[in-house]
Symmetry: C2
């Protein structure tokens, strides 16, 4: 999250004062052009002087009131980036429910016809470290406000939609362990371990030994402290290092929520890592945010929330990660509705603690995170993004279970 490092474009400027003047013909034509992009969405657009276009009265799920001309023209220039910028900076007021508004926008946007628009971000060791620090080192106190008690910051599994977030996160960890058919005494390597909950759960509940790595300093420090407190530090080793530097041979490879940060340019490195660390009978699980088709991540999310992130297609992951070392895909599960539900819980908890977050950071930070959480929930609900959990194994492994996880 890099809000604080970027220029505070919400600060008043000369051009803002000019906006106090009534809107002119070209302002009105501009807002009409913006409205046409999402013309089927039940949304009202309003300028600073009250001029408005779009859905009327109660048929509108929300009204967007633009506070100044600069914002209006930034939306014409690059709406994907600047809608988020305006919301974060308080340059647009949303009257109505934010998630209903975003759902309406997702549904109304013409589907991009781009194919092969690959992200060009670099993911060498230094860039990866910067990207991770920017988001994951905001402070454990911040994440504690709105994540579950185990601090799992990835999609949960709700056996029933009414399950609590706490129960769903534990169900997710069990599901991952059971899909990997772990047995006591086995050795597991985890690439990107967050605050260490899954590694500790595997050791505690499944009797395995774990080597888990992460390049987030704060997360690793927290995970080590927890392992020590629980007396698991002899069986779970937390390594503060890049996944590409892992060594050793393991019965299982697991990575939950890292692949979307790896970047296509490093899939060959990830593939070689898996091939290098997996024993002949080994199996693995990759859990990641993906897409049904190639498309870069939303520009605003990349700028403000997840620099360097890219949600891949199944085709890209199969082609670049599994095929070169001839790993065999055993089971793929798409959990997008479960991620939408997870994000619904996070959003609600975040809103309950908005004042605390504001005291830690500022208003722009609160608005940015509100938009990111709401937008992500809606993206999974509308099928714009997917959550894939893939179980794989060495080609020809004789240790396959007869049936997949029931």
């Amino acid at each position: 999250m890099r809000v604080e490092r970027l220029p505070a474009t919400s600060a008043p400027r000369l051009s803002d004062h000019l906006d106090i003047r009534p809107s002119m013909a070209f302002d009105r034509r501009a807002i009409e052009a913006v409205q046409r992009v999402v013309s089927s969405a039940p949304i009202r657009f309003e300028l600073w002087d009250g001029f408005s276009v779009g859905s009327e009265g109660t048929s509108a799920v929300a009204t967007l009131r633009l506070k100044n001309r600069r914002t209006l023209f930034s939306w014409l220039w690059d709406p994907e980036l600047n809608f988020g910028e305006a919301y974060m900076n308080g340059a647009v007021d949303v009257r109505g429910d934010l998630r209903e508004l975003l759902t309406a926008i997702y549904r109304a946007l013409p589907e991009s016809k781009r194919r092969g628009s690959r992200e060009a971000d670099k993911h060498d060791l230094g860039a990866s470290r910067d990207n991770v620090h920017a988001h994951y080192d905001l402070g454990n106190d911040f994440y504690r406000l709105w994540l579950d008690q185990e601090l799992l910051y990835t999609c949960a599994y709700f056996p029933d939609p009414a399950a609590t977030l706490e129960a769903a996160q534990i169900a997710k960890m069990d599901r991952v362990c059971r899909k990997l058919w772990l047995t006591p005494g086995e050795r597991v390597v985890e690439a990107g371990c967050g605050w260490g909950s899954l590694a500790l759960h595997m050791a505690r509940a499944y009797g395995v030994e774990v080597v888990a790595c992460n390049i987030s300093t704060e997360q690793i420090a927290y995970a080590r402290e927890r392992a020590k407190r629980e007396g698991l530090d002899g069986r779970v080793i937390f390594v503060e290092d890049d996944y590409r530097n892992l060594t050793g041979s393991y019965d299982a490879f697991v990575s939950v929520g890292m692949l979307e940060h790896v970047g296509l340019d490093q899939y060959d490195a990830l593939s070689r890592l898996i091939d290098r660390t997996l024993a002949p009978h080994g199996r693995g699980l990759l859990h990641f945010i993906g897409r049904d088709y190639r498309e870069t991540l939303n520009a605003w999310i990349r700028r403000r929330v997840f620099p360097g992130a890219y949600p891949p297609t199944l085709h890209e992951v199969c082609e670049r990660v599994f095929e070169p070392p001839r790993l065999s895909v055993f089971d793929v599960e798409n959990l997008r509705l479960h991620y939408a539900m997870t994000l619904r819980h996070w959003f609600d908890r975040f809103e309950q603690h908005a004042a605390d977050v504001c005291a830690m950071f500022d208003d722009a930070f609160v608005r940015a995170w509100r938009l990111y959480l709401a937008g992500s929930q809606v993206a999974f609900e509308t099928g714009t993004m997917q959550l894939f959990q893939i179980v794989f194994n060495r080609r020809g492994s004789a240790t396959l279970p007869w049936t997949r996880l029931q």
Copy 2:
């Protein structure tokens, strides 16, 4: 199956008579070269005069005795094609268990490093019809000898490895229907329906209406007769036509065991067909033989058993079938061990009726089918081939089940 149309290379020729002479130094060097290709396999190779190389005594799972020089040199020239030709024509005797021999060969063969070796077979309407007739129109009486009573000629699902083939084929059909979450009154289109069992099962047990197509004349005639006999001909329409000619709009699309015959050059046509026939809330299932990496099908199988067949990778199917119309993959299950078990049942039943098959065709036909069934079982057991069942849906469909099939 085109055995009968090809020259009977087992007929005696002048060169065979020459082989009565003792083997010479260059014969011995040739058999040594053949043995070196699978040097880690516990197999003994023997020439017509008793000269032998390879594993000794009881350590050998099988002994291959070559009957003539022509066969020996055909193995040096193109072993992938000519091992099958020699077995089919009786030019090599196998002493020992055929499936143990094939397992040893699969395990010992150096993994091909070919990538992107795509098959160049054509699959226009005429070629597809010829390919299908060659295999599926051998006569229903033949298939009745060794398939289950429902005549399902695709991978079964064994809830338990000890289940009967009959129970496992019904469990497979139920699994397909439940993965598609069919509800009574819905309309289903089936591309490539075999003898019609799945279409009839869907209508009978799940209350749906089905349009099912197939270009095998014998299979369609049988299916129509069955529908009429069961009083289901008002709810199941069997169309003798190519899948590419299907029209209409359906709640579900299903295809079991057809994609491996479609050919990569027609995946775009299949993709457009699915996009054209699937309703906005629609979902579908593709069940097919696949691979973990790109490789053409065994040359002998393509020549004698499945002309034009190609088992694709997940990457190829996602890239060419699902991505263009932005279909969303919901669930992938790899059932290769279930196909190995299915083939084990087929092989055993085939062997029990080998005399009947010989009376219908000839010895070469029996040997060819024995090799094809045994080789297929071993290919799935050793992980050389996969069986993928993919459930997909329209992007953003709101009708997804909360959890996948338990």
